[in-house]
């Protein structure tokens, strides 16, 4: 195996110590060969990556979002770095930034979990290992496949090959092309015909997920009549040296299948002055391929310095349903340009968009949404509600709704509101014994209620706490 690697590297013209866990900075075909070889991928996948790379070199970074940031030097980044080893991370919680620990504590994250999140090397005897094992057995009994992307490529190559890029082709956009060329790992999930997944699937339980790199790729396929609820992300801030996070998520729902995808995203947002933080450029798209299928995105976005993300649904099957529920919070100097696209192709397709943007500090929050009713989409219906909440005078909220209707039987409704947390509201709460921070949390949670109720119970609780922590110090 090692010999194979050496040879591969040699062949593509640059020398890397076999022991090395990271590729040199920069991106070229050699690096892609290196990544694919490290992962012992089949030729077809390497070919696919290379095609994506070649396409990427012809593309330009998009500048249409309402975002400001210095240019990213794509040749200065490292595209492959093996998962951190025991020796890389802090040895114990004592070595971890106390501020980070304080946040974990406020979030009520169990001690063990805090260690994992902070990247503390934890021995093999760790609760979630055994949990993950039992978990896998239960799923296997139902025929559900849930594993890392790399494992899926090895164990279920036909499935991966059939569905990879079906919803987000590598030509889709700049970041999707980049991801397709260099993706390191991610999750694969397959629910066979007629199976209702017996539990909520979460990256929390998939051990490899913790160290998944900056270009992860997720693929979820629900066959006819299958149901699955997938939870993504951890609710704690991750300190991460990586600046760019460009993931791709593809969902495919066949006839009468249902996929519910919930995200609580809290990547490191940078400090109050806007130093550091993650650039989160993510392509998420679902395809309601079958009749009466349903895809529902719920996201709570509180992290990242910059968020560029539009979880979308292509409503191809007749009577299919697409939903998007979103809370996006920007504080300090965070910027978010997020929203959704609902593309109606099939007859009687329906979509609902509920977007709640919260801006505090000097945060800039933009909703960008497209509702597209194609000619074939007779009796398509959409309802969109975009609400913005401002905290303070230095932040901003923007709404960019795009509506394209090519079938006259369609009905499209758009509502938008902007409100501000007033000093009089805060004082009213204060005068009843409620602190300013609690008052803000109360108002913000009230504002987000419609979205939170879409989240699985524990996730909703965590999301609420997270908003509270993220808004700390934003008022008064």
């Amino acid at each position: 195996m090692i010999e194979g690697l050496v040879r591969t590297e040699y062949k593509y013209g640059f020398v890397t110590d076999v022991e090395a866990d990271a590729a040199p900075p920069g991106l070229n075909e050699g690096i892609i060969q290196f990544i694919s070889a490290k992962k012992q991928e089949p030729d077809w996948l390497l070919e696919w990556r290379l095609k994506a790379y070649r396409h990427w070199t012809t593309m330009k970074e998009p500048h249409w979002p309402h975002l400001k940031y210095p240019a990213v030097d794509f040749q200065d980044m490292v595209y492959y770095s093996a998962p951190r080893r025991k020796t890389d991370g802090p040895k114990s919680l004592e070595e971890v930034d106390p501020k980070l620990l304080e946040t974990y504590e406020k979030l009520g994250i169990p001690l063990r979990e805090r260690e994992r999140l902070a990247g503390v090397a934890v021995d093999a005897v760790f609760d979630s290992v055994s949990v993950a094992t039992t978990f896998k057995d239960t799923l296997a009994a139902k025929g559900v496949i849930f594993c890392s992307f790399s494992e899926a490529v090895r164990e279920h190559p036909d499935l991966v090959r059939k569905y990879l890029g079906m919803v987000v082709p590598y030509t889709d956009n700049f970041y999707a092309a980049l991801n397709s060329a260099v993706f390191s790992d991610g999750s694969f999930c397959f629910i066979p015909k007629g199976v209702r997944c017996p539990m909520e699937l979460s990256t929390y339980f998939r051990i490899n997920a913790a160290n998944t790199g900056q270009f992860e790729r997720t693929l979820i396929v629900a066959e006819e009549g299958a149901h699955v609820s997938y939870l993504e992300g951890c609710t704690a801030p991750m300190r991460d040296e990586n600046q760019l996070h460009a993931a791709v998520v593809e969902l495919i729902a066949l006839d009468q299948a249902e996929i519910k995808y919930s995200t609580v995203q809290n990547w490191y947002p940078g400090d109050a002055e806007g130093r550091g933080g993650i650039y989160n450029f993510v392509t998420k798209r679902g395809l309601c391929r079958g009749k009466q299928s349903k895809i529902s995105w719920t996201q709570v976005e509180t992290g990242s310095a910059i968020t560029w993300k539009y979880p979308s649904v292509i409503l191809q099957g007749e009577d299919s349903v697409g939903e998007f529920y979103s809370v996006a919070l920007t504080n300090n100097r965070q910027q978010a340009d997020t929203g959704t696209k609902m593309v109606h192709i099939g007859k009687n397709t329906r979509s609902t968009i509920i977007s709640k943007g919260i801006s505090a500090g000097k945060g800039q929050n933009s909703y960008r949404g497209l509702v597209k009713i194609q000619k074939s989409a007779t009796n398509a219906r959409n309802f969109s509600q975009c609400d913005s909440l401002l905290i303070g005078n230095k932040c901003g909220a923007h709404t960019f709704p795009y509506i394209e209707v090519k079938n006259t039987t369609a009905s499209v409704e758009h509502e938008a509101t902007t409100s501000k947390i007033g000093e009089d509201q805060i004082f009213y709460c204060n005068s009843r014994g409620i602190s300013t921070q609690d008052a803000v949390n109360m108002i913000v949670n009230g504002f987000c209620k419609e979205v939170f109720k879409e989240l699985p119970m524990e996730f909703a609780v965590e999301a609420q706490k997270l908003l509270g922590v993220s808004l700390e110090g934003s008022v008064g």
Binding site: S431, G433, I443
Partner: protein, 268 residues
């Protein structure tokens, strides 16, 4: 200054709940209160009357701790402690309650949730265990009856889309739940029809206790038929221009505010 000259004897053994001494205060450089003196003892209900713009709400906001008002002179003691030193939330937890002249709408925040948070802040502060949802609901249902509030009231957002009268009733309802030691009611009667006024007044009267004090601010005498005060004060041009017993309100009603406006501070 002593308000007991009108023949109403006060017992010196009673605790001073609120003592306002020579209070001067303003906003945005404008002087509004120019030396207010007022003492409320346990068990007493005082009314403050005065024309529009005389500074009644300014006084109530200062007592509740609203930002933006500048106290330039004088002192306010609550149960012997410096009230002006405390944060607004601390005052509330210590038992000071203001029924707002203009209650604030908080869309999205459920009334029950809001009140439960408030009640539990007070309890925590007093070292009492917090109430859980069931216990709180039982307490609240009881208080709702006093104010003839509809069932769905609890499910609505705080004051959101409430009629003027509903907002005022909600203020007294909150007061009933929080059971403050000192309640300041700022024009709770304005915007109420006579039936609502009676309900609200009955609510306030139910909360009258030997250990509490109430400061009822009103523009009209009408309310004082239902909430009968021990003392009446007239606020005019930033000062208590006249003080007396409950009959002073009737006299004011008959003679109009001009009677006291502009006149020197003098005992009746």
């Amino acid at each position: 200054m002593d308000f007991s000259m009108n023949g109403t004897e006060r017992m010196d053994t009673k605790t001073n709940i609120l003592e306002i001494r020579n209070l001067h205060a303003g906003v945005e450089g404008k002087q509004i209160l120019k030396g207010v003196d007022l003492t409320l003892r346990a068990g007493e209900v005082h009314a403050i009357m005065g024309p529009n713009g005389s500074g009644k709400s300014t006084l109530s906001q200062i007592l509740a701790g609203r930002d933006g008002y500048e106290v330039t002179e004088g002192q306010v003691l609550y149960l012997g402690k410096d009230l002006l030193e405390m944060d607004p939330e601390e005052r509330a937890r210590e038992g000071v309650f203001l029924a707002f002249q203009y209650p604030v709408e908080i869309p999205g925040v459920n009334t029950t949730y809001f009140l439960k948070a408030a009640a539990n802040e007070v309890r925590k502060h007093a070292g009492q265990p917090e109430l859980d949802a069931m216990e709180f609901l039982a307490l609240v249902k009881e208080k709702m009856k006093i104010l003839h509030l509809p069932e769905d009231f609890l499910k609505r957002s705080v004051n959101d889309g409430f009629s003027g009268g509903e907002k005022k009733r909600n203020e007294i309802f909150q007061m009933a739940v929080l059971e403050p030691r000192l309640a300041v009611l700022d024009e709770t009667d304005s915007g109420l029809d006579i039936d609502a006024l009676k309900v609200v007044a009955a609510g306030v009267n139910k909360l009258r206790r030997p250990e509490n004090a109430q400061l009822v601010i009103t523009h009209y005498q009408r309310l004082l038929n239902y909430i009968v005060p021990d003392f009446v004060h007239v606020l005019s041009e930033g000062r208590i221009a006249r003080s007396g017993g409950k009959e002073l309100a009737l006299e004011l009603e008959a003679r109009g505010y001009e009677w006291v406006t502009g006149t020197e501070l003098q005992p009746a």
